[in-house]
């Protein structure tokens, strides 16, 4: 190894050895494509000759999921359904509260048959009563039934500018304002000794750690409502690792820049932005939850709930600005950007949640937030270590615990 020097590229990799010989002297691209070509051939033979036709044992079971329901008016119920099974299903009848009721299927190409993975809306003209549960059952052509209970129905708000405005105001109050207020601790944090600054950073890590668990549990809970074919739990796992690795890759790239002598890349501002992005993704998911609750008519945003959200989110402010407490103070523009990145996604999430809600989107966004937050916690620990501090000092551990505890207590006020 040591006898040969190789040029390292900026991403830390090394160039491949040109001299490695190919079998039978074939060009490199042939050996790259050969397995793919053979796979296509085998699949083709399998598809045309059906060698396992006699092996099939019985019919695969039909599986239909009602992902969510909307109630656009008090005369209409809309079920959003997805066929999860391997075979087509035909929705022949619909029962509402154990009575056959008329309906029409929209979005399934004009018929009542759903191909595997196909989604459609079942529109039922039914004069429902607010607050009175509805039990709806889909009767398939083979007599199988799939039940869904609409608990305490209330009218979906539908699309309107005033709804977007309302959600923007809510987002402003529960997201942007608390984060901005929390950031006003910056001058005070700046005057702290290293020891206390590190404690504040670990406090922030505790806040984020709580959010990771909070959002993680919620993501898996929501994943249960994701249609089976989309593998909700694995989607959440993918979202968490995807975000974690993506942010980690950005971070590694930054280190490469630092090594190359880019001074801006070495400042705490980078970490501050990473923290803001992580919190922003979390707040996006929070906004989704608010927006979808609105869409499902499930929200009573009383003063108590808004106050709870504000207390909860105000702790996110210092988490964003603590990394830039040392060194040169960033320009005000950076502060504004940090605040917007961390807080404003509540508004965006609210809009998405109210307009295009689905459990799949909700679970995925929550998972992304978890991954991003986990990476940021990692980053904060390294920041403390790089500054010569000890991550696991008594003060720091207690500060982390305090972060968890404060989030737990303030979370009690936020029961959506």
């Amino acid at each position: 190894m040591a006898d040969k020097t190789r040029d390292t590229t900026t991403d830390g990799g090394v160039t491949a050895d040109e001299e490695i010989t190919q079998p039978l002297g074939l060009p490199k691209w042939v050996s790259a494509l050969l397995p793919i070509v053979l796979l296509v051939l085998v699949l083709g033979v399998f598809a045309f000759t059906s060698p396992l036709a006699g092996v099939q044992s019985g019919e695969p079971l039909p599986d239909v999921t009602v992902t969510h329901t909307t109630l656009p008016s008090d005369e209409t119920v809309v079920l959003h359904v997805t066929n999860n099974g391997p075979e087509s299903v035909t929705i022949s009848q619909v029962l509402v509260d154990e009575a056959y009721w008329n309906f029409r299927v929209e979005g399934a190409g004009g018929d009542q048959t759903l191909a595997p993975m196909e989604s459609a809306q079942i529109v039922i003209p039914y004069h429902w009563n607010p607050g009175w549960d509805l039990e709806v059952a889909l009767v398939l052509s083979d007599g199988a039934t799939f039940h869904n209970t609409i608990v305490a129905p209330s009218q979906s708000p539908g699309f309107s500018l005033s709804l977007l405005g309302t959600l923007a105001v809510i987002g402003l109050f529960v997201g942007v304002i608390p984060v901005a207020l929390g950031m006003l601790w910056f001058p005070y944090i700046k005057t702290m000794s290293d020891r206390w600054l590190h404690a504040v950073l670990l406090f922030a890590a505790g806040v984020l750690g709580f959010l990771a668990f909070d959002a993680g549990f919620e993501a898996f809970e929501l994943a249960e409502r994701v249609p089976g074919a989309y593998e909700g739990n694995l989607l959440v796992v993918f979202g968490i690792f995807g975000a974690l690795l993506l942010v980690q890759a950005i971070s590694a790239w930054r280190e490469g820049r630092v090594a190359a002598g880019d001074s801006r890349a070495s400042s705490g501002l980078w970490i501050a932005y990473l923290v803001a992005v992580g919190i922003g993704l979390h707040n996006l998911a929070e906004g989704l939850a608010i927006g979808s609750s609105f869409a499902l008519g499930r929200v009573s945003l009383g003063a108590f709930l808004v106050i709870g959200f504000m207390l909860h989110n105000v702790t996110e402010g210092p988490a964003v600005v603590a990394p830039v407490a040392r060194g040169e103070r960033p320009s005000l523009g950076h502060f504004a950007a940090l605040g917007v990145i961390a807080g404003a996604p509540v508004i965006l999430g609210g809009w998405i949640g109210s307009l295009a809600y689905s459990p799949t989107i909700g679970a995925f966004f929550l998972a992304i937030g978890v991954g991003a937050i986990l990476q940021v916690d990692w980053e904060i620990a390294r920041m403390v270590r790089d500054a010569g501090g000890r991550v696991a000092s008594a003060t720091n551990l207690l500060a982390f615990l305090l972060g968890l505890a404060i989030m737990y207590v303030t979370d009690l006020f936020v029961a959506l």
Binding site: D74, V96, D97, E98, A99, W101, H127, N129, P130, G131, W132, D133, L134, E135, V151, A152, S300, A415
Partner: protein, 419 residues
């Protein structure tokens, strides 16, 4: 010696009541409370039940002494009095204040005219437990209509509820426009719409009316039902006695007279009718948690409404007592116009303690269809007349209830107090 002494009767009623309310609070306090909180249903239930528990614990000593679970409070909603309802007959001549009515002649026929409305309201079905109901003239069961065979019943109906409603009578109705179903005549009446139904009062008997809008289960079990009593016309009975008996043998003059006398005792326009104490009971039930099963059962809406409260045993009730037995005079003949509006369950039943009675299914005959029985059952919309004689019995409390024990323990448990 009364069949049941007061202490143990009160004890049983309270214990059953406690169990019913416990089961309801259990259901409302989990996730339903958060969901329904905005509607105030669970909220008011929780408040009512909370306060009754507090009062139960305050007289804990008393409980121990008698082995009680403790009272669970009184009905606070005094708009509906199940005791008044028992004998509230609307004949056109006289009736309830909330049922505008008149009687007049038209083309040689007596017309009994009533104004009905359908409204959305809230009713008390157990102490502290409210139910969002749809109701004719604001009450569940709806007003009892009473006419004489051959009269014209004219009902000016206005729908003031948020859902579409009708009135469908279980009478022999010769005009399909008047059948009160979505497919005929005016169809369902939307909010604010009106229609005048006209029905010939026939055949004699006790009948049922209800809303026939869809979904039927919802429209019936929310409270849109009531009783129509058609009194037999003694003159018509004299002319056509065979129409009033399920009996193929010869009709002697004595038998004819006996049927005419029976018809007079059934007809509110005859003095013979005054000798009989007549009561209307509708067996009903309520699904409070939307699971397609009932949480509360009763005769005339209120769980344990005719149960035993606090009494001195001589018919003197503690002021404000809302649950008390039906007091009856032992020397008077008792007649119950019974019908079954219970939804979700296949049948309901009526059982008397220490007593046998005669049952006239649908009330369309003047001789009993079941003689000397102590239990009868009815499917939904089935009805009949029960005739009871307590003249042999000692004064005291006599239980009557559904003999589905489940229904009895969920509220359909009542007492006659014979004095």
């Amino acid at each position: 010696m009364p069949s049941i002494d007061y202490d143990s009767a009160a004890d049983v009623t309270k214990r059953l009541e406690e169990r019913l309310v416990e089961s309801l609070t259990g259901e409302t306090s989990v996730s339903r409370r958060t969901v329904l909180g905005g509607l105030g249903v669970a909220g008011s239930a929780a408040v009512g039940l909370g306060s009754s528990r507090a009062s139960a614990s305050s007289d804990h000593d008393d409980e121990d002494e008698h082995g009680n679970f403790g009272a669970v409070g009184e009905y606070r909603d005094l708009d509906f009095d199940p005791h008044e309802f028992l004998t509230a007959f609307n004949t056109g001549d006289s009736g309830q204040d909330n049922v505008p009515q008149q009687v007049y002649e038209e083309n040689g026929r007596t017309v009994r005219e009533f104004e009905f409305t359908a409204v959305d309201t809230t009713i008390a079905i157990a102490p502290g437990v409210e139910f969002q109901a749809w109701a004719y003239n604001g009450q569940v069961p709806g007003p009892t209509i009473r006419a004489v065979e051959g009269d014209l019943i004219r009902v000016k109906f206005t729908n003031l509820g948020r859902h579409a409603h009708t009135i469908h009578p279980h009478l022999k109705n010769l005009n399909p426009r008047m059948d009160g179903i979505p497919q005929n005549g005016p169809g369902v009446l939307d909010t604010g719409e009106s229609f005048t139904y006209e029905w010939i009062a026939q055949p004699a008997g006790t009948h049922f009316y209800h809303c026939h809008s869809l979904p039927l289960k919802e429209h019936i079990h929310r409270g849109l039902y009531g009783t129509i009593i058609v009194d037999p016309d003694p003159e018509r009975v004299r002319e056509n006695p065979r129409e009033y008996v399920n009996y193929p043998g010869p009709i002697t003059d004595d038998f004819r007279e006996q049927l005419v006398e029976e018809a007079k005792s059934r007809n509110h326009e005859y003095a013979e009718n005054d000798a009989v104490n007549e009561m209307v009971m509708v067996m009903n039930s309520f699904d409070t948690n939307f699971d397609g099963g009932n949480e509360v059962y009763a005769a005339n809406t209120r769980a344990f409404g005719y149960g035993v409260g606090d009494t001195d045993g001589n018919g003197n009730w503690t002021a404000g007592e809302t649950k008390r037995p039906i007091q009856i005079n032992k020397n008077q003949r008792q007649r119950v116009y019974l019908s079954n509006a219970t939804e979700f369950d296949l049948i309901n039943s009526f059982h008397t303690h220490s007593q046998f009675f005669d049952y006239y299914d649908h009330g369309t005959t003047l001789t009993p269809t079941n003689k000397t029985v102590d239990t009868i059952m009815q499917c939904q919309a089935q009805r009949g007349i029960i005739e009871i004689d307590y003249s042999d019995h000692e004064p005291g409390l006599y239980m009557f209830h559904a003999h589905q024990s489940e229904f009895a323990e969920l509220g359909w448990m009542s007492f006659f107090e014979v004095v």
